[in-house]
């Protein structure tokens, strides 16, 4: 699997993502600077977390209109796999590659902790190593992760099996606490209509080593590496 990571001013999780991709595929990803309008040939393009352009105007809004994102959109159109994590999810939503929007957390606080993540659809290349209903442990670290879409869009996402992950209680966690940001219908990640674009708020790249408290994120990258060669 050849992969590329898109880097903006203010991106800060690109090295964590590179480590996870290299661990799964045995190859270091290409790092693509936001001014580059040409992407290297890749089976997977990742838009990682951080605070691109300082989250000015709205989280992800500036990056969504950068030249490199046009190339990402074109690649996604051709069927190339695209993964957006955290700020990357916000960017893909702002760019219109995924429906809905990410609002400020309902608590108005930056939330940085482990959450439970239930696999809603286990039948995709992103989730090939997981079972539907399995609850994974991964960290979230965001201020604007409160997924919102109108009721028609939400119903369509559910009908088309495009909810990737939902927040779910970890062992012993109360029903009032497991959703860290107020996301509607507990949505933590969604797919596009063709299933080749995934956006998610939690950080699988920060759950790949035992010293991080969880290795549940490995499966996502392993699934992609298996599917994309």
């Amino acid at each position: 699997m050849k992969s590329a990571i898109v880097v903006f001013p203010g991106t800060n999780r690109e090295q964590d993502m590179a480590e996870a991709l290299e661990m799964a595929s045995g190859r270091p990803p290409a790092m693509v600077w936001h001014r580059d309008s040409a992407l290297p040939e890749a089976d997977l393009i990742v838009v990682p977390g951080g605070f691109s352009y300082g989250d000015y105007l709205r989280a992800g809004a500036m990056a969504a209109h950068s030249p490199v994102l046009r190339s990402v959109a074109e690649a996604a159109q051709r069927g190339v796999a695209v993964l957006g994590v955290c700020n990357g999810f916000q960017i893909l939503v702002e760019a219109g590659l995924l429906p809905g929007a990410l609002l400020s957390n309902a608590s108005l606080k930056f939330v940085c902790r482990d959450i439970g993540l239930s696999v809603a659809n286990g039948g995709t290349m992103f989730a090939a190593c997981y079972e539907a209903g399995q609850v994974l442990r991964m960290p979230v670290a965001h201020h604007d992760g409160n997924y919102f879409a109108d009721t028609d869009t939400l119903d369509r996402l559910e009908d088309e099996d495009r909810i990737a992950f939902r927040y779910a209680p970890l062992d012993g966690e109360g029903a009032d606490r497991f959703n860290p940001n107020g996301s509607v219908r507990d949505i933590a990640g969604i797919y596009n209509g063709s299933g080749n674009v995934l956006g998610m708020m939690p950080h699988p790249e920060n759950a790949i080593r035992a010293d991080q408290g969880s290795t549940d994120g490995r499966g996502l990258f392993a699934g992609l590496a298996a599917a994309l060669g």
């Binding site: 929007a101 609002l103 608590s107 108005l108």
Partner: protein, 85 residues
């Protein structure tokens, strides 16, 4: 020419900042605040020349396009454009 752009959350979209402001006003003793919705206000000074036909209508159309493409996220926000000659 100057454009004044108001960007506001659509009805039904949760506004936790507006709620926090409402609570703060209540705590300060301001009675009678039923609800607060917070938005953004943007001023844009427009240049004459290419892209402008000098008319207020043309400016409004241009700024509306800016709102659609960048200034507002129309999934969650409405916008209103005023042109000041």
């Amino acid at each position: 020419m100057r454009a004044r752009v108001h960007v506001t959350l659509k009805p039904g979209v949760l506004d936790p900042q507006g709620k926090a402001i409402a609570h703060a006003l209540e705590a300060l003793g301001f009675d009678g605040v039923a609800d607060v919705r917070q938005g953004k206000y943007i001023e844009i000074d427009l240049k004459d020349g290419p892209g402008s036909d000098g008319s207020a209508g043309g400016a409004e159309a241009r700024v509306s396009e800016m709102c659609e493409k960048l200034l507002a996220n129309t999934v969650i926000e409405n916008y209103r454009v005023e042109i000041e000659a």
